[in-house]
Symmetry: C2
Subunit: 366 residues, 2 copies
């Protein structure tokens, strides 16, 4: 199949640091190539890929100090994709809604994965205007603010199988990984660790917008000798951080559409203690890959239980459910469906359920 993957230009594919969307696009692209497809990746020029790279800009815009207006580069890239639309069987966009006006007439050969939260007041306006554009959610929970939108399916994220290995949790600490921000609730993580009496290591970046929150709310909590703040860590250090952790804490306070770190932990055999918001119940299997809790007390009580979970069984669930290959095959089923013309103006949504065998099972969604 001749496939165009169209990534945002904020980060490279994969990103050098933080950046979920471009990371997932990269994993998907490499897997599609490995499965024998002709893939062209529209992304920043400093991306690394085995697909054909079409550079939408020289380097990742977030790291380019000369770039003030990312919209310029995104518009130019999308228009170039349009002029070459006939060269591809399928155009897979990861650029929010920005391409809708340019590709409204090509809807039948497009697929748009929405990577962000959807509870934004202006999104329904543009989704209703372009109601033929087929959409993909990254969890069923993500759809909640717009269940009526033109969903073609849900495809959960996946990671390359060899990216992480089963770790042994030798560090005996609890881990918190990602971003310091009020909705991620690092304060809850600290309180959970204190109550459980287990050390906590926080590996997280602090965005400028969250600096005041860090200084005012989090920094005072770091005086406890149980708590260690180690700042942002790179992709290379992530595996060791997760593999050495006895468990990961994910005490979020918002409907996270997909927590990539949950499956990264799983790939290391690390159990997760998570608050059950957003996509969490679709990813974590309570009592197998971790525990879903309602409050700090429940989370602290789950710590000794989590330490008793079988790490190799957790890794097995990762292999069954969250590899990039499974993700690529899910997307290929959606591409195939669009190609064979089964995509009507508003098709009955295809539901892809990651099954125990790692193969996508098809069934009508509710």
């Amino acid at each position: 199949m001749r496939i165009a993957q169209v990534a945002p230009l904020h980060e490279s594919c994969p990103p050098r640091f933080y950046g979920g969307t471009e990371r997932v696009v990269s994993y998907l692209t490499e897997e599609l190539v490995a499965l024998g497809h002709e893939v062209t990746l529209f992304a920043s020029g400093d991306s690394c890929t085995s697909a054909v790279l079409e550079a939408g800009c020289e380097k990742a815009l977030r790291l380019d100090s000369r770039c003030r207006d990312p919209l310029v580069y995104h518009l130019i890239m999308l228009d170039r994709v349009r002029r070459r639309a006939d060269e591809f069987d399928i155009l897979h966009f990861h650029t929010d809604y920005l391409h809708f006006p340019l590709f409204a007439e090509y809807w039948g050969k497009t697929l748009t994965t929405l990577h962000g939260r959807l509870d934004l007041p202006d999104l329904p306006v543009i989704m209703r205007e372009y109601k033929t554009m087929p959409l993909v959610s990254i969890s069923d929970a993500q759809r909640a603010p717009m269940p009526w939108a033109n969903w073609s399916g849900t495809v959960q994220h996946g990671l390359p199988r060899e990216l992480h290995r089963l770790g042994d949790g030798v560090g005996r600490y609890l881990g918190f990984l990602g971003r310091i921000s009020p909705e991620k609730r690092p304060d809850r993580a600290i309180e959970i660790a204190r109550r459980a009496g287990v050390p906590l290591r926080i590996a997280a970046k602090v965005d400028p917008v969250d600096q005041a929150y860090f200084d005012g709310t989090i920094a005072p909590l770091l005086r406890d000798p149980l708590i260690e703040f180690i700042g942002e860590i790179g992709e290379a250090d992530k595996a060791a951080f997760l593999g050495d952790a006895a468990a990961l804490l994910f005490p979020i306070d918002w409907p996270e559409p997909f927590g990539l770190v949950l499956i990264e932990a799983m790939a290391n055999g690390t159990p997760v203690i998570a608050f059950g918001h957003g996509s969490v119940p679709e990813i974590i299997e309570d009592g197998i890959t971790g525990f879903i809790v309602d409050d700090i007390e429940g989370a602290a009580a789950a710590v000794p239980q989590a330490l008793r979970l079988d790490r190799s069984a957790i890794r097995r669930r990762f292999d069954e459910r969250f590899t990039a290959e499974r993700m690529a095959r899910d997307y290929l089923a959606l591409y195939q469906r669009a190609l064979s013309g089964r995509t009507a103006l508003r098709p009955a949504p295809l539901r892809l359920v990651a099954s125990a065998t790692g193969r996508a099972a098809q069934g009508a969604a509710d």
Copy 2:
């Protein structure tokens, strides 16, 4: 002629408060209708016009607390214009570069007025990508960062003839009107008034982004009894503020592409003492409608001279050079030129010089 005017949606046409671009689009639209043309105005739904109004959103987005993402409404509006492109002889855009990808194939029947500053690092990238799109500058000075772009002409702004009347400067104060911001240099205005020993009234809004500048730099200067800060004033109070002023101070420190307040003062017969940046030398005629100065000393020295200028002669220059009718006729000349197919891929730019008779003279630009 069947003309589409496409305005930004941030403010209504005309704006209820601040907002230069939408104000000019409104003046142009009304004048084109008055001249007998069929005009459709694409703008926010709370706009007032004698043209046919096509609402791109319910109300001005800046005043709509539910709007978080103005891009949604702009994209939808531009796409709707595209689907109706065949209904118009000319499509006149005031939406920066946002419409370029959608209208690249229609370039021959489009005109794009750039209303902002052009010394932004990403603008040349998109101007080179869409080099067939015909552009209009609002002053020759505005073009400086991109003299190589596809300029069709310069059309200076104009105001409805009856909007302001000759005032008598009875208030005997110096005026400062607009926004408090470092590049507008209200601090210089205060110093000029002090040295000249003439009272200064500052009618200006303070944007959130400029609050720290106001508090730290300007507020301490307001203790002087010569200086009076009266905050933001509405459109209705502007004429009285300008007409009662003995002179307007315009001590800017940046290349302002067109200072609308300069011609508003002129319409009231009020002389302007201005620093000679950007478009100022194209608008102010030294010794007739005001004085162009280099520094605070020169500005203070110019105050008594400005008070001796003939206010009715200033108003006369406004009537000759800066009415909305002159602006509309300038644009019609450019529309006509596009229609008659004289617009080649890169046409020799048409230079419209506002002459003493108020008629546009045509000649090749350098």
